[in-house]
Symmetry: none
DNA sequence: GTGGTCTAGACCACC
DNA sequence: GTGGTCTAGACCACG
Protein backbone atom coordinates (compact mmCIF):
# COMPACT_ATOMS: atom_id res chain seq x y z
CA UNK A 1 0.00 0.00 0.00
CA UNK A 2 1.52 3.30 -1.11
CA UNK A 3 0.24 5.41 1.77
CA UNK A 4 -1.86 4.98 4.88
CA UNK A 5 -4.12 7.24 6.88
CA UNK A 6 -3.99 8.08 10.56
CA UNK A 7 -7.47 8.73 11.84
CA UNK A 8 -6.04 9.94 15.13
CA UNK A 9 -4.39 12.75 13.22
CA UNK A 10 -6.45 15.90 13.53
CA UNK A 11 -5.73 17.20 10.07
CA UNK A 12 -8.30 16.53 7.36
CA UNK A 13 -7.72 13.33 5.45
CA UNK A 14 -7.11 15.05 2.13
CA UNK A 15 -4.28 17.03 3.72
CA UNK A 16 -2.66 13.86 5.01
CA UNK A 17 -2.78 12.36 1.53
CA UNK A 18 -1.26 15.50 0.03
CA UNK A 19 1.56 15.51 2.55
CA UNK A 20 2.34 11.82 2.15
CA UNK A 21 2.43 12.00 -1.64
CA UNK A 22 4.51 15.18 -1.55
CA UNK A 23 7.04 13.38 0.61
CA UNK A 24 7.20 10.40 -1.71
CA UNK A 25 7.78 12.72 -4.64
CA UNK A 26 10.31 15.02 -2.96
CA UNK A 27 12.32 12.10 -1.66
CA UNK A 28 12.38 10.46 -5.09
CA UNK A 29 10.38 7.34 -4.22
CA UNK A 30 8.03 8.37 -6.99
CA UNK A 31 10.14 9.35 -10.00
CA UNK A 32 9.27 11.91 -12.65
CA UNK A 33 6.45 10.85 -14.94
CA UNK A 34 5.62 7.83 -12.78
CA UNK A 35 1.92 7.00 -12.79
CA UNK A 36 0.19 7.32 -9.44
CA UNK A 37 -2.91 5.28 -8.50
CA UNK A 38 -6.21 6.39 -10.02
CA UNK A 39 -8.67 8.29 -7.83
CA UNK A 40 -10.91 5.27 -7.90
CA UNK A 41 -8.28 2.71 -6.91
CA UNK A 42 -6.83 4.88 -4.18
CA UNK A 43 -10.32 5.40 -2.78
CA UNK A 44 -10.96 1.66 -2.62
CA UNK A 45 -7.55 0.89 -1.21
CA UNK A 46 -7.97 3.38 1.63
CA UNK A 47 -11.71 2.79 2.11
CA UNK A 48 -12.33 6.47 1.62
CA UNK A 49 -14.76 8.65 -0.26
CA UNK A 50 -13.43 9.26 -3.82
CA UNK A 51 -14.25 12.94 -3.44
CA UNK A 52 -11.58 13.16 -0.77
CA UNK A 53 -8.92 11.64 -3.05
CA UNK A 54 -10.08 13.86 -5.86
CA UNK A 55 -9.56 16.95 -3.76
CA UNK A 56 -6.06 15.86 -2.75
CA UNK A 57 -5.07 15.24 -6.37
CA UNK A 58 -6.48 18.60 -7.45
CA UNK A 59 -4.39 20.46 -4.91
CA UNK A 60 -1.29 18.47 -5.80
CA UNK A 61 -1.80 19.39 -9.43
CA UNK A 62 -2.35 23.05 -8.60
CA UNK A 63 0.90 23.03 -6.61
CA UNK A 64 2.74 21.49 -9.56
CA UNK A 65 3.63 18.10 -8.07
CA UNK A 66 1.53 16.02 -10.46
CA UNK A 67 -0.19 16.48 -13.81
CA UNK A 68 -3.38 14.92 -15.09
CA UNK A 69 -4.02 13.42 -18.50
CA UNK A 70 -7.70 12.90 -19.09
CA UNK A 71 -8.53 9.30 -19.72
CA UNK A 72 -5.04 8.09 -18.82
CA UNK A 73 -4.43 9.01 -15.18
CA UNK A 74 -2.24 11.15 -12.93
CA UNK A 75 1.54 11.41 -13.24
CA UNK A 76 4.45 12.89 -11.26
CA UNK A 77 5.60 16.24 -12.65
CA UNK A 78 9.22 16.96 -13.60
CA UNK A 79 11.08 18.38 -10.62
CA UNK A 80 11.65 21.78 -12.20
CA UNK A 81 8.01 22.56 -11.64
CA UNK A 82 8.09 22.71 -7.87
CA UNK A 83 11.62 22.29 -6.63
CA UNK A 84 12.52 25.96 -6.44
CA UNK A 85 9.38 27.03 -4.56
CA UNK A 86 9.74 24.20 -2.10
CA UNK A 87 13.37 25.09 -1.52
CA UNK A 88 12.69 28.74 -0.77
CA UNK A 89 9.90 27.81 1.59
CA UNK A 90 11.91 25.17 3.43
CA UNK A 91 14.89 27.52 3.76
CA UNK A 92 12.69 30.18 5.33
CA UNK A 93 11.27 27.69 7.80
CA UNK A 94 14.79 26.56 8.61
CA UNK A 95 15.82 30.12 9.45
CA UNK A 96 12.75 30.56 11.65
CA UNK A 97 13.64 27.43 13.56
CA UNK A 98 17.19 28.61 14.05
CA UNK A 99 15.87 31.90 15.42
CA UNK A 100 13.67 30.06 17.87
CA UNK A 101 16.54 27.86 19.06
CA UNK A 102 18.73 30.91 19.62
CA UNK A 103 16.09 32.38 21.92
CA UNK A 104 15.98 29.09 23.77
CA UNK A 105 19.68 29.37 24.43
CA UNK A 106 21.03 26.82 21.96
CA UNK A 107 24.56 27.55 20.75
CA UNK A 108 25.68 27.66 17.13
CA UNK A 109 28.05 24.76 17.72
CA UNK A 110 25.20 22.59 18.94
CA UNK A 111 23.23 23.30 15.79
CA UNK A 112 26.21 22.67 13.54
CA UNK A 113 26.85 19.29 15.11
CA UNK A 114 23.18 18.41 14.87
CA UNK A 115 23.27 19.04 11.14
CA UNK A 116 26.28 16.80 10.71
CA UNK A 117 24.59 14.05 12.73
CA UNK A 118 21.46 14.17 10.61
CA UNK A 119 23.46 14.13 7.40
CA UNK A 120 25.41 11.11 8.57
CA UNK A 121 22.21 9.30 9.52
CA UNK A 122 20.46 10.11 6.25
CA UNK A 123 23.57 9.08 4.31
CA UNK A 124 23.39 5.60 5.85
CA UNK A 125 19.97 5.02 4.34
CA UNK A 126 21.32 5.31 0.81
CA UNK A 127 24.06 2.73 1.31
CA UNK B 1 -1.16 47.06 21.24
CA UNK B 2 0.40 43.81 22.40
CA UNK B 3 -0.73 41.59 19.55
CA UNK B 4 -2.82 41.81 16.41
CA UNK B 5 -4.95 39.40 14.47
CA UNK B 6 -4.80 38.43 10.81
CA UNK B 7 -8.29 37.72 9.59
CA UNK B 8 -6.87 36.42 6.32
CA UNK B 9 -5.13 33.65 8.24
CA UNK B 10 -7.09 30.45 8.00
CA UNK B 11 -6.21 29.33 11.51
CA UNK B 12 -8.73 30.01 14.24
CA UNK B 13 -8.36 33.28 16.09
CA UNK B 14 -7.63 31.66 19.43
CA UNK B 15 -4.71 29.76 17.90
CA UNK B 16 -3.23 32.95 16.54
CA UNK B 17 -3.45 34.54 19.96
CA UNK B 18 -1.81 31.51 21.55
CA UNK B 19 1.05 31.55 19.09
CA UNK B 20 1.65 35.29 19.40
CA UNK B 21 1.68 35.20 23.19
CA UNK B 22 3.90 32.12 23.22
CA UNK B 23 6.39 34.01 21.10
CA UNK B 24 6.34 37.05 23.34
CA UNK B 25 6.94 34.82 26.36
CA UNK B 26 9.62 32.61 24.82
CA UNK B 27 11.52 35.61 23.50
CA UNK B 28 11.40 37.31 26.86
CA UNK B 29 9.31 40.33 25.87
CA UNK B 30 6.95 39.27 28.64
CA UNK B 31 9.00 38.49 31.74
CA UNK B 32 8.19 35.96 34.44
CA UNK B 33 5.22 36.89 36.61
CA UNK B 34 4.30 39.82 34.37
CA UNK B 35 0.57 40.40 34.24
CA UNK B 36 -0.96 39.98 30.83
CA UNK B 37 -4.10 41.89 29.78
CA UNK B 38 -7.35 40.71 31.35
CA UNK B 39 -9.71 38.62 29.28
CA UNK B 40 -12.10 41.51 28.97
CA UNK B 41 -9.50 44.15 28.10
CA UNK B 42 -7.88 42.00 25.46
CA UNK B 43 -11.32 41.30 24.02
CA UNK B 44 -12.11 45.00 23.73
CA UNK B 45 -8.68 45.84 22.37
CA UNK B 46 -8.95 43.26 19.60
CA UNK B 47 -12.70 43.72 19.06
CA UNK B 48 -13.19 40.06 19.76
CA UNK B 49 -15.57 38.07 21.92
CA UNK B 50 -14.24 37.48 25.47
CA UNK B 51 -14.96 33.76 25.14
CA UNK B 52 -12.40 33.50 22.39
CA UNK B 53 -9.71 35.17 24.49
CA UNK B 54 -10.73 33.01 27.42
CA UNK B 55 -10.13 29.89 25.39
CA UNK B 56 -6.71 31.06 24.27
CA UNK B 57 -5.70 31.85 27.86
CA UNK B 58 -6.95 28.47 29.07
CA UNK B 59 -4.82 26.60 26.58
CA UNK B 60 -1.80 28.73 27.41
CA UNK B 61 -2.29 27.88 31.06
CA UNK B 62 -2.64 24.18 30.29
CA UNK B 63 0.58 24.32 28.30
CA UNK B 64 2.32 25.96 31.25
CA UNK B 65 3.07 29.36 29.72
CA UNK B 66 0.84 31.38 32.02
CA UNK B 67 -0.92 30.85 35.32
CA UNK B 68 -4.30 32.17 36.36
CA UNK B 69 -5.45 33.58 39.66
CA UNK B 70 -9.18 33.96 39.91
CA UNK B 71 -10.18 37.49 40.74
CA UNK B 72 -6.69 38.79 39.94
CA UNK B 73 -5.73 38.02 36.38
CA UNK B 74 -3.31 36.01 34.26
CA UNK B 75 0.45 36.00 34.74
CA UNK B 76 3.50 34.68 32.88
CA UNK B 77 4.79 31.41 34.37
CA UNK B 78 8.38 30.97 35.50
CA UNK B 79 10.48 29.59 32.65
CA UNK B 80 11.20 26.28 34.38
CA UNK B 81 7.68 25.23 33.60
CA UNK B 82 7.99 25.02 29.85
CA UNK B 83 11.58 25.67 28.77
CA UNK B 84 12.74 22.07 28.69
CA UNK B 85 9.74 20.72 26.78
CA UNK B 86 9.91 23.53 24.28
CA UNK B 87 13.59 22.89 23.73
CA UNK B 88 13.17 19.18 23.02
CA UNK B 89 10.30 19.91 20.65
CA UNK B 90 12.13 22.65 18.79
CA UNK B 91 15.26 20.52 18.41
CA UNK B 92 13.21 17.71 16.90
CA UNK B 93 11.59 20.09 14.42
CA UNK B 94 15.01 21.45 13.58
CA UNK B 95 16.27 17.97 12.71
CA UNK B 96 13.18 17.32 10.57
CA UNK B 97 13.81 20.52 8.65
CA UNK B 98 17.43 19.55 8.08
CA UNK B 99 16.32 16.19 6.74
CA UNK B 100 13.95 17.89 4.32
CA UNK B 101 16.64 20.27 3.08
CA UNK B 102 19.01 17.36 2.48
CA UNK B 103 16.44 15.72 0.24
CA UNK B 104 16.07 19.02 -1.62
CA UNK B 105 19.79 18.93 -2.35
CA UNK B 106 21.02 21.59 0.07
CA UNK B 107 24.62 21.11 1.20
CA UNK B 108 25.81 21.07 4.80
CA UNK B 109 27.95 24.15 4.17
CA UNK B 110 24.95 26.09 2.99
CA UNK B 111 23.09 25.26 6.19
CA UNK B 112 26.05 26.10 8.39
CA UNK B 113 26.42 29.51 6.81
CA UNK B 114 22.69 30.13 7.12
CA UNK B 115 22.90 29.53 10.85
CA UNK B 116 25.75 31.98 11.22
CA UNK B 117 23.82 34.58 9.22
CA UNK B 118 20.76 34.23 11.41
CA UNK B 119 22.82 34.45 14.58
CA UNK B 120 24.51 37.59 13.34
CA UNK B 121 21.16 39.15 12.45
CA UNK B 122 19.58 38.25 15.78
CA UNK B 123 22.62 39.51 17.61
CA UNK B 124 22.16 42.95 16.04
CA UNK B 125 18.75 43.32 17.71
CA UNK B 126 20.29 43.22 21.14
CA UNK B 127 22.85 45.95 20.45
CA UNK C 1 -29.19 6.86 28.82
CA UNK C 2 -25.39 6.64 29.00
CA UNK C 3 -24.83 9.22 31.71
CA UNK C 4 -26.82 11.65 33.80
CA UNK C 5 -26.12 15.00 35.39
CA UNK C 6 -26.48 16.12 38.97
CA UNK C 7 -27.48 19.76 39.04
CA UNK C 8 -26.99 19.84 42.81
CA UNK C 9 -23.32 19.06 42.25
CA UNK C 10 -21.24 22.23 42.51
CA UNK C 11 -18.77 21.13 39.89
CA UNK C 12 -19.31 22.44 36.35
CA UNK C 13 -21.40 20.26 34.08
CA UNK C 14 -18.58 19.59 31.65
CA UNK C 15 -16.44 18.22 34.47
CA UNK C 16 -19.18 15.84 35.52
CA UNK C 17 -19.46 14.57 31.96
CA UNK C 18 -15.70 14.11 31.74
CA UNK C 19 -15.59 12.15 34.99
CA UNK C 20 -18.55 9.93 34.07
CA UNK C 21 -17.17 9.08 30.65
CA UNK C 22 -13.69 8.48 32.07
CA UNK C 23 -15.21 5.97 34.45
CA UNK C 24 -17.10 4.19 31.70
CA UNK C 25 -13.92 3.95 29.66
CA UNK C 26 -11.60 2.93 32.49
CA UNK C 27 -14.03 0.27 33.68
CA UNK C 28 -14.36 -1.13 30.19
CA UNK C 29 -18.05 -0.39 29.69
CA UNK C 30 -17.00 1.51 26.60
CA UNK C 31 -14.55 -0.64 24.64
CA UNK C 32 -11.68 0.57 22.47
CA UNK C 33 -12.76 2.26 19.26
CA UNK C 34 -16.40 2.30 20.32
CA UNK C 35 -18.24 5.32 18.99
CA UNK C 36 -19.59 7.61 21.70
CA UNK C 37 -22.70 9.75 21.14
CA UNK C 38 -22.26 12.73 18.84
CA UNK C 39 -21.98 16.17 20.39
CA UNK C 40 -25.46 17.05 19.21
CA UNK C 41 -27.15 13.83 20.30
CA UNK C 42 -25.60 13.94 23.74
CA UNK C 43 -26.69 17.57 24.02
CA UNK C 44 -30.29 16.69 23.20
CA UNK C 45 -30.29 13.65 25.44
CA UNK C 46 -29.09 15.63 28.45
CA UNK C 47 -30.98 18.81 27.53
CA UNK C 48 -27.71 20.68 27.55
CA UNK C 49 -26.07 23.14 25.22
CA UNK C 50 -23.88 21.45 22.57
CA UNK C 51 -21.00 23.77 23.44
CA UNK C 52 -20.82 22.28 26.90
CA UNK C 53 -20.63 18.74 25.53
CA UNK C 54 -18.09 19.91 23.00
CA UNK C 55 -15.85 21.20 25.74
CA UNK C 56 -16.07 17.95 27.68
CA UNK C 57 -15.16 15.94 24.59
CA UNK C 58 -12.25 18.23 23.79
CA UNK C 59 -10.73 17.74 27.22
CA UNK C 60 -11.26 14.00 27.04
CA UNK C 61 -9.41 13.99 23.74
CA UNK C 62 -6.58 16.07 25.14
CA UNK C 63 -6.26 13.64 28.03
CA UNK C 64 -6.08 10.75 25.57
CA UNK C 65 -9.33 8.97 26.47
CA UNK C 66 -11.07 9.52 23.15
CA UNK C 67 -10.07 10.53 19.65
CA UNK C 68 -12.02 12.69 17.25
CA UNK C 69 -12.52 12.32 13.53
CA UNK C 70 -14.06 15.38 11.93
CA UNK C 71 -17.22 14.55 10.09
CA UNK C 72 -17.40 11.10 11.66
CA UNK C 73 -17.63 11.37 15.42
CA UNK C 74 -15.77 10.61 18.63
CA UNK C 75 -14.28 7.24 19.51
CA UNK C 76 -12.71 5.57 22.55
CA UNK C 77 -8.90 5.54 22.38
CA UNK C 78 -6.88 2.33 22.69
CA UNK C 79 -5.94 1.76 26.33
CA UNK C 80 -2.21 2.17 25.77
CA UNK C 81 -2.80 5.89 25.48
CA UNK C 82 -3.82 6.53 29.07
CA UNK C 83 -3.54 3.38 31.16
CA UNK C 84 -0.03 3.94 32.45
CA UNK C 85 -0.55 7.56 33.44
CA UNK C 86 -3.82 6.78 35.15
CA UNK C 87 -2.21 3.97 37.10
CA UNK C 88 0.64 6.08 38.42
CA UNK C 89 -1.79 8.83 39.38
CA UNK C 90 -4.21 6.48 41.14
CA UNK C 91 -1.41 4.77 43.06
CA UNK C 92 -0.17 8.12 44.30
CA UNK C 93 -3.63 9.09 45.47
CA UNK C 94 -3.98 5.73 47.17
CA UNK C 95 -0.79 6.32 49.15
CA UNK C 96 -1.99 9.80 50.13
CA UNK C 97 -5.24 8.35 51.41
CA UNK C 98 -3.37 5.73 53.42
CA UNK C 99 -1.26 8.47 54.98
CA UNK C 100 -4.38 10.37 55.96
CA UNK C 101 -5.97 7.28 57.52
CA UNK C 102 -2.82 6.62 59.54
CA UNK C 103 -3.03 10.09 61.04
CA UNK C 104 -6.67 9.44 61.89
CA UNK C 105 -5.58 6.40 63.86
CA UNK C 106 -6.67 3.63 61.51
CA UNK C 107 -4.63 0.43 61.88
CA UNK C 108 -2.97 -1.46 59.05
CA UNK C 109 -5.14 -4.50 59.70
CA UNK C 110 -8.28 -2.43 59.28
CA UNK C 111 -7.09 -1.20 55.89
CA UNK C 112 -6.07 -4.67 54.76
CA UNK C 113 -9.48 -6.10 55.58
CA UNK C 114 -11.20 -3.19 53.84
CA UNK C 115 -9.30 -3.96 50.66
CA UNK C 116 -10.36 -7.61 50.79
CA UNK C 117 -13.99 -6.57 51.34
CA UNK C 118 -13.97 -4.26 48.35
CA UNK C 119 -12.37 -6.90 46.17
CA UNK C 120 -14.98 -9.43 47.19
CA UNK C 121 -17.78 -6.96 46.45
CA UNK C 122 -16.38 -5.98 43.06
CA UNK C 123 -15.83 -9.61 42.19
CA UNK C 124 -19.53 -10.29 42.71
CA UNK C 125 -20.43 -7.87 39.91
CA UNK C 126 -18.66 -9.98 37.35
CA UNK C 127 -20.45 -13.18 38.33
CA UNK D 1 4.97 31.31 59.03
CA UNK D 2 2.24 28.80 59.78
CA UNK D 3 0.99 28.27 56.25
CA UNK D 4 1.73 29.55 52.77
CA UNK D 5 -0.33 30.07 49.64
CA UNK D 6 0.27 28.72 46.16
CA UNK D 7 -1.05 31.19 43.61
CA UNK D 8 -0.48 28.63 40.88
CA UNK D 9 -3.03 26.42 42.57
CA UNK D 10 -6.37 26.80 40.86
CA UNK D 11 -8.47 26.39 43.98
CA UNK D 12 -9.71 29.56 45.67
CA UNK D 13 -7.38 30.89 48.30
CA UNK D 14 -9.82 30.39 51.17
CA UNK D 15 -10.02 26.68 50.31
CA UNK D 16 -6.26 26.35 50.42
CA UNK D 17 -6.19 27.95 53.85
CA UNK D 18 -8.92 25.61 55.07
CA UNK D 19 -7.10 22.55 53.81
CA UNK D 20 -3.74 23.59 55.25
CA UNK D 21 -5.20 24.32 58.68
CA UNK D 22 -7.23 21.11 58.65
CA UNK D 23 -4.04 19.19 57.98
CA UNK D 24 -2.19 20.88 60.81
CA UNK D 25 -5.04 20.05 63.17
CA UNK D 26 -5.59 16.47 62.02
CA UNK D 27 -1.90 15.70 62.21
CA UNK D 28 -1.66 17.17 65.68
CA UNK D 29 0.69 20.03 64.90
CA UNK D 30 -1.96 22.28 66.34
CA UNK D 31 -3.15 20.75 69.61
CA UNK D 32 -6.61 21.04 71.15
CA UNK D 33 -7.45 24.52 72.45
CA UNK D 34 -4.34 26.03 70.86
CA UNK D 35 -4.90 29.59 69.73
CA UNK D 36 -4.59 30.16 66.00
CA UNK D 37 -3.54 33.53 64.50
CA UNK D 38 -6.18 36.26 64.42
CA UNK D 39 -7.90 37.07 61.13
CA UNK D 40 -6.07 40.32 61.05
CA UNK D 41 -2.59 38.93 61.69
CA UNK D 42 -3.04 36.08 59.26
CA UNK D 43 -4.20 38.54 56.60
CA UNK D 44 -1.12 40.71 57.04
CA UNK D 45 1.22 37.73 57.17
CA UNK D 46 -0.08 36.33 53.88
CA UNK D 47 -0.67 39.72 52.23
CA UNK D 48 -4.27 38.77 51.66
CA UNK D 49 -7.65 40.38 52.01
CA UNK D 50 -8.97 39.83 55.58
CA UNK D 51 -12.34 38.85 54.12
CA UNK D 52 -10.70 35.79 52.61
CA UNK D 53 -9.26 34.69 55.96
CA UNK D 54 -12.58 35.41 57.62
CA UNK D 55 -14.36 33.10 55.22
CA UNK D 56 -11.86 30.30 55.79
CA UNK D 57 -12.24 30.57 59.57
CA UNK D 58 -16.02 30.60 59.29
CA UNK D 59 -16.05 27.37 57.33
CA UNK D 60 -13.56 25.75 59.68
CA UNK D 61 -15.80 26.68 62.59
CA UNK D 62 -18.89 25.36 60.84
CA UNK D 63 -17.06 22.06 60.18
CA UNK D 64 -16.13 21.86 63.87
CA UNK D 65 -12.36 22.18 63.58
CA UNK D 66 -12.07 25.47 65.45
CA UNK D 67 -14.23 27.54 67.76
CA UNK D 68 -14.39 31.29 68.12
CA UNK D 69 -14.52 33.33 71.30
CA UNK D 70 -15.52 36.89 70.63
CA UNK D 71 -12.89 39.32 71.71
CA UNK D 72 -10.34 36.60 72.45
CA UNK D 73 -9.66 34.81 69.18
CA UNK D 74 -9.98 31.44 67.42
CA UNK D 75 -9.02 28.10 69.01
CA UNK D 76 -8.62 24.48 67.93
CA UNK D 77 -11.64 22.34 68.85
CA UNK D 78 -11.34 19.11 70.87
CA UNK D 79 -10.88 16.15 68.52
CA UNK D 80 -14.19 14.55 69.40
CA UNK D 81 -15.92 17.28 67.44
CA UNK D 82 -14.76 16.27 63.99
CA UNK D 83 -12.76 13.06 64.19
CA UNK D 84 -15.60 10.68 63.52
CA UNK D 85 -16.97 12.53 60.48
CA UNK D 86 -13.53 12.86 58.96
CA UNK D 87 -12.87 9.17 59.52
CA UNK D 88 -16.06 8.00 57.82
CA UNK D 89 -15.39 10.31 54.87
CA UNK D 90 -11.76 9.23 54.48
CA UNK D 91 -12.68 5.54 54.71
CA UNK D 92 -15.24 5.97 51.93
CA UNK D 93 -12.68 7.68 49.70
CA UNK D 94 -10.22 4.91 50.49
CA UNK D 95 -12.70 2.27 49.30
CA UNK D 96 -13.38 4.25 46.12
CA UNK D 97 -9.68 4.39 45.38
CA UNK D 98 -9.34 0.65 45.92
CA UNK D 99 -12.20 0.06 43.48
CA UNK D 100 -10.48 2.19 40.88
CA UNK D 101 -7.18 0.37 41.30
CA UNK D 102 -8.92 -2.99 40.90
CA UNK D 103 -10.30 -1.88 37.56
CA UNK D 104 -6.82 -0.77 36.55
CA UNK D 105 -5.59 -4.30 37.20
CA UNK D 106 -3.73 -3.78 40.47
CA UNK D 107 -3.59 -6.89 42.66
CA UNK D 108 -4.54 -7.06 46.34
CA UNK D 109 -0.99 -8.01 47.27
CA UNK D 110 0.34 -4.90 45.62
CA UNK D 111 -2.05 -2.74 47.64
CA UNK D 112 -1.24 -4.53 50.88
CA UNK D 113 2.47 -4.01 50.43
CA UNK D 114 1.90 -0.36 49.53
CA UNK D 115 0.10 0.16 52.80
CA UNK D 116 2.95 -1.38 54.75
CA UNK D 117 5.46 0.79 52.92
CA UNK D 118 3.56 3.96 53.71
CA UNK D 119 3.19 2.99 57.35
CA UNK D 120 6.90 2.32 57.61
CA UNK D 121 7.71 5.66 56.01
CA UNK D 122 5.29 7.60 58.20
CA UNK D 123 6.55 5.81 61.28
CA UNK D 124 10.07 7.08 60.57
CA UNK D 125 8.89 10.69 60.90
CA UNK D 126 7.91 10.20 64.50
CA UNK D 127 11.27 8.76 65.58
C1' DG E 1 -24.63 14.62 9.86
C1' DT E 2 -20.34 15.56 12.28
C1' DG E 3 -17.06 18.34 14.80
C1' DG E 4 -14.86 23.30 15.14
C1' DT E 5 -15.17 28.08 15.78
C1' DC E 6 -17.22 32.38 16.98
C1' DT E 7 -20.58 35.86 18.82
C1' DA E 8 -23.69 37.87 22.17
C1' DG E 9 -25.21 38.03 26.40
C1' DA E 10 -25.88 36.27 30.97
C1' DC E 11 -24.85 34.73 35.83
C1' DC E 12 -21.64 33.17 39.39
C1' DA E 13 -17.47 32.90 42.62
C1' DC E 14 -13.54 35.16 44.14
C1' DC E 15 -10.78 39.04 45.88
C1' DG F 1 -12.88 44.00 38.33
C1' DT F 2 -11.37 39.24 37.37
C1' DG F 3 -11.79 34.63 35.62
C1' DG F 4 -15.25 30.49 34.94
C1' DT F 5 -19.31 28.53 33.17
C1' DC F 6 -23.36 28.19 30.43
C1' DT F 7 -26.94 29.16 26.83
C1' DA F 8 -28.66 30.22 22.25
C1' DG F 9 -27.84 30.57 17.83
C1' DA F 10 -24.98 30.93 13.82
C1' DC F 11 -21.60 29.62 10.07
C1' DC F 12 -17.88 26.72 8.24
C1' DA F 13 -15.08 22.51 6.85
C1' DC F 14 -15.15 17.70 6.26
C1' DG F 15 -16.69 13.26 4.37
Amino acid sequence: MLINIDYQDKRPIYEQIIEKLQNLIVKGVLAENDKIPSVRNMAIELSINPNTIQRAYQELERAGYIYTVKGRGNFVSPKDGWKKDKLVEAMQEFDDKVTELIHLGVSADEMHSHIDDVIKKEGMKND
